[in-house]
């Protein structure tokens, strides 16, 4: 099982990350990628600023990755999270999962994103295109209930 966890200011190349998980392993039948991009919310947003807790952020992703490996048989797992200033249309996060079968690859990627959102210490601050727009006091994005609901479903019942 290949595992790569990386927190970096630079953009990533999804094709290269996919190739890393499949090259030389012809037992991979399913490859799933999730890319989270910075939306501009119909022009409202100029940029996102991504802050993280160095050390703990890597450790939390590692802990989630370990849970993933217990639940699903994977051949490879890659998580890359960008930090710093990110403009609309740019990549924020990449998850790649490789497995023999599609169900494991899909569920592992979804689980990892759900827990990363709620458990990994990253924070987003919005910089607006037009400062007259409605905004929270300081621009920091609030955590949302949907993300808490997303992780709850993995606890209450195993997906079938």
């Amino acid at each position: 099982m290949i595992l790569k966890i990386c927190i970096q200011p630079d953009d990533f190349d999804t094709a290269i990350e996919c190739a890393r998980l499949t090259e030389g392993n012809k037992n991979v039948g399913a490859l799933v990628t999730f890319t989270g991009l910075c939306r501009d919310d119909d022009g409202r947003l100029a940029a996102l600023e991504l802050e993280h807790y160095p050390g703990m952020a890597e450790a939390e992703i590692q802990a989630i990755a370990e849970q993933v490996q217990v639940r699903w048989p994977l051949d490879g797992l890659t998580v890359i999270h960008r930090i710093g200033n990110i403009k609309p249309g740019e990549n924020i996060v990449l998850v790649v999962t490789a497995s023999r079968h599609r169900r494991a690859a899909f569920e592992a990627a979804e689980f990892l994103m759900d827990f990363l959102k709620t458990n990994a210490p990253f924070w987003k601050k919005e910089h607006l295109a037009d400062n007259s727009g409605a905004q929270s006091e300081t621009g920091w994005v609030s955590a949302n209930d949907a993300d808490d609901d997303a992780i709850a479903r993995w606890r209450t019942s195993k997906k079938t």
Binding site: Y53, A120, P121
Partner: protein, 83 residues
């Protein structure tokens, strides 16, 4: 003890980290927050709504009643919004 602040907790307290000497009797996360709030209006403001404050002791998530004993690094931050 080292204290680190992130996101709007950092902005409100006006510092990203500091070294503090804990007064005697401060034994839990809740106790530490209570004491920090006595240190000035910026701390009062940062911790005014404790429902939105998360704490980690040596990079492990902690709750209000987690004991501080043996901790060298405490971090305070809002709920996570990565991904």
């Amino acid at each position: 003890m080292k204290i680190i602040y992130f996101a709007w907790v950092r902005e409100r307290t006006g510092r990203s980290q500091e070294e503090v000497d804990l007064p005697a009797g401060i034994e839990t996360v809740a106790g530490l927050i209570g004491w920090l709030k006595t240190r000035g209006p910026e701390f009062e403001h940062a911790f005014e709504n404790e429902r939105f404050i998360r704490a980690a002791l040596d990079q492990q998530m902690a709750s209000n009643d987690t004991p501080l004993a043996g901790t060298s690094e405490v971090a305070f931050f809002p709920p996570m919004t990565g991904g």
